[in-house]
Every structure is written in structure tokens, then in C-alpha cells.
């Protein structure tokens, strides 16, 4: 098994455990938004929304960028999750190759044994 970054996955799951935060992700899936927009949409204080966005940002699910006085939020790169998935795909590719290679290796081993026997005869 590939080593999953547990802390990162835990952060993702706990970030997704809250209805508001899931709503924010859905919203950002449609379009980028400022924290003010999000606070209004979810009937929250600015401070409350900042907290939620902070949790999502920590988990890599959201990325924010401050331009002037406005902090814009968008879906995050989820870099580590992507990387974990990619490495697992890479592992599977090589595991498949090596399983086929086992057959070739077994055959070579067998051939060597037979050749060895012939030489002794």
C-alpha cells in the first residue's frame, strides 16, 4: 500500500463534516467568491465565514487570494490527494508489470534448471 498522508485526509474529512463548509465548496464549484459574498449567502458573520474558509484552506480544499481589500476564494489544488492517487496509480502499473514479469522469471528459472541438467548428462 502507498502511505496515505493521514493527517491530510483527516483534515479533509473534518472539513467536509460541516454543512456550511460543504455548501461553500459547492458554491465555489460554480464560481469564485469573496468571503463577504459567502458570508451573505450563508447568512453568517464575516468572522464566522473566515473561520470556515480557514478550515477548508487548511485541508487544501480551498485556496484564497487577497487582491486589494477583497479576499477571493476558489477551489483548492488538493495537491496531496492528487499526488496520493497518482502514486497509487503508478504503483498499480508497476505491480501489474511485475506480476507479468514473475511469469517470465519463472520460465527463465525453469529453463536454467533444464539446461543445467542437460550439461550434467
Amino acid at each position: 500500500m502507498v502511505q496515505f498522508p493521514h493527517a491530510r485526509l483527516d483534515a479533509s474529512f473534518s472539513a467536509l463534516s460541516d454543512a456550511t463548509r460543504r455548501g461553500v465548496l459547492e458554491q465555489l464549484g460554480h464560481a469564485d467568491a469573496s468571503i463577504t459574498d459567502l458570508a451573505e449567502k450563508f447568512h453568517m458573520t464575516l468572522t464566522g465565514m473566515k473561520k470556515h474558509v480557514g478550515v477548508l484552506e487548511q485541508a487544501g480544499l480551498v485556496a484564497t487570494e487577497k487582491v486589494g481589500r477583497v479576499r477571493t476564494c476558489k477551489l483548492g489544488p488538493r495537491r496531496l490527494e492528487q499526488e496520493t492517487a497518482w502514486i497509487e496509480g503508478y504503483r498499480q502499473l508497476w505491480a501489474s508489470r511485475f506480476d507479468e514479469l514473475d511469469n517470465v522469471v519463472d520460465e527463465l528459472k525453469q529453463k536454467e534448471k533444464i539446461d543445467g541438467r542437460k550439461k550434467r548428462e
Partner: protein, 174 residues
């Protein structure tokens, strides 16, 4: 071994591990139940490479397989995949060939961002521990390879995206 036995799935497969060991390096390991000289041979003869490098379970097949395994020699593997109209070519040059313990080659299809692959074959008690390291020129080169989904296609990302969407949808409804 007869032909029938060979086509049957081996009940116990040795485990393959894969890990990003550092910012620039990917490492894959696997043990083979054979001496190093035999495993090494299977990596260095094109007619043998042809039989395992394009696993059937991945739906890829060889169009051609050329490998001149000696220092300075080149290789060129061309694959076909049903999802891709154009065949995919992987090519490079062998920079170290030390039977039966070490093999090093370049991966030139990605231009300057390509990794150098080192495979070591370490024999102990009749078994061989194989360690394959892909060393990229920079952290960015490895990040890019991962982001572009090269080597194993972008399929895995789509699956992950689907999972996240499904996860979001199911918790959203509860």
C-alpha cells in the same frame, strides 16, 4: 513449467510498494523469487521486455520494442492504447549497465524534465529485491509529471474527483 501452469494466476504475488521519497524522487520496490541474474536478464533482452512491460490488465500493447542494453545504447518503446489515437513513444539512453546488479537509463520523451531511472537488483538467499528510483531534475519536474497525469494517464484523478463529488453529495443530503 508447462504452458498451462504459466497462464494461471500465481496465487501469492509479492507486494509492490511505491513512494515519493523526496521532492525529486519516486521509489518502487518489489521482491522476486529468483536470483538477480535471471531478473536482470528479463530487463535487458527486448524479446523478454516485450512480454511483461505492457501489462494486459492496463489495456496497453506494444507496437514496437527496441532496447540496445549497453552503456550509450538507446531504447524506444512504442505503445498503443484504445483510448489514444496516437501511439505513445518512450525513449532514452542507457547510461550504466552492470550485470546483474544495476541498470541506469534516461527518460527523454519529456525533454529536460525527464527523470533518470536507476534499478538495482539485490540478491539475498536466492531472492532478489528490486529497487527502482526515478530521480527528476527538480521538484517542479516531478510535480508537473504528477499534475499532468503522465506515466499512468489522468484516469486516477477523474476517479478521485468523482469520489469527492460523491462524498460531498452524500454528506450534503444527510
Amino acid at each position: 513449467m508447462d504452458a498451462r501452469r504459466e497462464s494461471e494466476p500465481n496465487p501469492v504475488k509479492n507486494h509492490t510498494t511505491a513512494e515519493r521519497k523526496s521532492e525529486r524522487e519516486l521509489v518502487v520496490t518489489r521482491t522476486f523469487n529468483a536470483p538477480a541474474r535471471i531478473v536482470f536478464e528479463a530487463w535487458t533482452k527486448p524479446e523478454l521486455l516485450l512480454r511483461w512491460w505492457a501489462p494486459k490488465s492496463f489495456g496497453v500493447s506494444f507496437v514496437s520494442c527496441e532496447a540496445d542494453v549497453r552503456v550509450g545504447g538507446t531504447y524506444r518503446f512504442v505503445f498503443a492504447h484504445p483510448a489514444s489515437e496516437q501511439p505513445m513513444a518512450f525513449f532514452g539512453r542507457y547510461i550504466e549497465v552492470s550485470p546483474p546488479s544495476r541498470l541506469v537509463w534516461t527518460n527523454d520523451e519529456a525533454g529536460d524534465g525527464g527523470a533518470v531511472t536507476t534499478v538495482t537488483f539485490d540478491e539475498k538467499g536466492g531472492k532478489t529485491l528490486l529497487v527502482m528510483r526515478d530521480l527528476y531534475p527538480s521538484k517542479e519536474a516531478l510535480d508537473d509529471a504528477i499534475a499532468s497525469g503522465s506515466t499512468n494517464g489522468g484516469e486516477t484523478f477523474e476517479q478521485l474527483d468523482e469520489l469527492l463529488v460523491a462524498l460531498g453529495a452524500s454528506v450534503g443530503r444527510s
